[in-house]
Subunit: 404 residues, 2 copies
């Protein structure tokens, strides 16, 4: 019987073990859970039951204490969890501490400190350039190949998968309009991204070099950076996106530790421009991750963006983000930027998939340019795991509800 | 003897009573303090000594519990504090709970949730436009008079007055350079701003109307938004400032409650463009504040920016920041943007004061275009108070130290 007997090939088998925060059925208490198949292990309770020293990191209402504990602790806890859910001698003690996934409430798994969003897909950046600056000689801005462009977002509106997203209102003005108008966004979009979660802080004034990425970053999640294109277009010159993004950012309820993704590491695309030393990853271990993302609207898959095509790696983004001495905190979250592959079916936003509304998508329930009220968007993904297994990433889903 | 006998006319007299967090001499414990003259009252200890119910808000290591308590509590606590430091019957109990300001350690007074920075001075925005886009028909971008432009900054690098600021390194590239170069910023600047501190959260998905400003915002502080102009110039298209700002933002150790600034309220400049209803403050109480700021480099005053000239008010900024449904959290901080008045001696940045380095400032210790290592920048300010008194704002100071 489950959960020990997870079916062979389950993407949430014991080779995966992502972390989340849940409340058991009938309770509002939050505690750390680990997903196995379609069950959730109460990790703190298991640690207590087995006399583990890691109870202090796991019997907690957020992942932040575990995140802060550092790489050695992360590896030790993962090793212990693997034993708890696979060694038959533990079965009697551990099995009662599982809950069916369908019966628990999942929460935002960590307290978000700063949230940064990057713009690291060359295909995405070129598509955006072609759409908005069709006459430009180069679809990329001059800085794009020299640094991973990023900006700060609103950490207070990061929400967990399953949270409804209220359609934002705001100002918009087409170039030909005499004055801006106010109302609910009419160009509400998604951005399919991967989010990286910082565990170990850094010292203010000291950059974090490329090679220290795995000492600071605990794991990753899927992230939907909801975007109101009409609000964004009117507001973003000269200081960047603000209200077009800040109304909501959804993250998956499960954080996949980097340790579960060793087989998914891959070299990023060939660098076409020489990089300054702090970003030059030619002599580093492969910094890319082979994650196969799927974007579905109302259950219908509209795109499969490949994360392996991202030009800038998460390690480069971390090095860049701190090269000016900015410090990291436990709970910092940074998004990769929209993931778009080279083909039409690999684009991570409706802006690109519909070419700014010119080419509507044909869905079973009608045409779409941008999102309509009631639409549910779901990002899911998997990565190559050990011995041909897949590592499943927790999905991130959200439904658009009308402006309040 | 002090502190009861604060000299007549002291800008930190009992009409002011700003809040901070301090450690007493020889202790590393943090607790809420209230400034009176050149002394700090241990507010939690006073509440305990006098049997006040507010001890639970004041005997705390940050201002966040007081911030979250809301306007009625803010008024009640202020009324109680005023009595404690002025009513002779309390003198014996309260006087031993003061510490000389020079003997305490001041800390960041609240945990910063999200940090947003605006761009609300028309004089500043026009100066920047003239410097960087001298050929443009209008020195303002088309959106500027329709919405308060803002962006998110890094809350993890907000530091308290007195903290050294490490000169940031980063990429820069002049238009004529063939490729970017890396190194310590050579155009390190200041931005003299006022920061507003949010106390009461708002519901996600529900905008906060203009008239609710004082129910959410507790008080204000001085803020220096350190800026590396060379890093910013190369990175900021298309997603806005990032590393050019994120290395440090300094705030004063004292938060002045809005209740201490009633006499400083003033009407903002006449609106030259019709505003959408959510920003239209024609029928609102005056949203401006008459704060007289002073900017000193190594003790030499170089500018006196008048906050009363800001085009967009803090209430409008709050309404705009939430109009898309973005929620507020206790500890959110938002900066006004650089305060610059209409005359040369009223500009709040070296960029403007030296016209991007063209016209160096003559200081007693030599010429300055941008900041040199070892320079100390101090912002101070006062506002009109009751009966002709001045309300002093806590200064924000920081020294530039070389790249690590």
């Amino acid at each position: 019987m489950p959960p020990f007997d997870v079916p062979e090939g389950d993407p949430f088998g014991p080779h995966n073990l992502p972390y989340g925060v849940f409340s058991p059925p009938g309770s509002s208490e939050r505690t750390v859970g680990v997903r196995l198949g379609d069950h959730v292990l109460d990790a703190g309770a298991a640690a207590h039951a087995l006399g583990s020293p890691y109870a202090s990191l796991l019997a907690r209402p957020t992942l932040n204490p575990l995140l802060a504990a550092g790489r050695t602790a992360w590896s030790d806890v993962r090793r212990a969890l693997t034993a708890w859910v696979t060694v038959p001698a533990h079965r009697e003690a551990v099995e009662p501490l599982f809950h069916p996934l369908s019966e628990v409430t999942l929460h935002l798994p960590f307290e978000v400190a700063d949230y940064v969003d990057f713009y690291a897909s060359e295909n995405h950046a070129r598509n955006v350039g072609r759409i908005f600056r069709p006459d430009a000689a180069d679809s990329l801005t001059p800085n794009w190949k020299h640094l991973p462009i990023g900006y700060h977002g609103r950490s207070g509106t990061v929400v967990v998968s399953g949270t409804d997203v209220v359609r934002p209102s705001g100002q918009r003005k087409a170039p030909a309009d005499p004055a801006p108008v106010f109302g609910p966004s009419v160009r509400l979009d998604i951005e399919a991204e991967v989010g990286f979660v910082v565990g170990v802080p850094s010292e203010h004034g000291r950059p974090v070099p490329l090679g220290d990425f795995r000492d600071h970053v605990f794991g990753l999640c899927l992230l939907n950076d909801w975007s109101a294109r009409d609000i964004q277009a009117w507001e973003y010159v000269p200081l960047g996106p603000f209200l077009g993004k800040s109304f909501a950012t959804s993250v998956s309820a499960w954080i996949t530790p980097l340790d579960a993704l060793e087989q998914a590491r891959t070299a990023p695309p060939e660098r076409t421009h020489a990089l300054l030393p702090y970003l030059d990853d030619a002599d580093e271990e492969p910094g890319g991750y082979d994650l196969r993302i799927s974007v579905a609207v109302n259950g219908h898959v509209v795109s499969e963006p490949p994360f392996s095509t991202m030009y800038w790696t998460a390690a480069q983004q971390l090095a860049h983000m701190t090269v000016n001495g900015a410090s990291l905190r436990t709970g910092d979250l940074y998004g990769s930027g929209t993931v778009s592959g080279p083909t039409e079916r690999e684009r991570g936003s409706l802006l690109e998939l519909t070419w700014n509304g010119r080419d509507p998508l044909e869905l079973p329930d009608g045409k779409r340019t941008f999102l309509e009220d009631g639409d549910t968007v779901t990002l899911s993904a998997w990565a190559p795991g050990p011995d041909g297994a897949r590592v499943g990433l927790g999905e991130v889903t959200g439904r658009v509800v009308p402006t309040a």
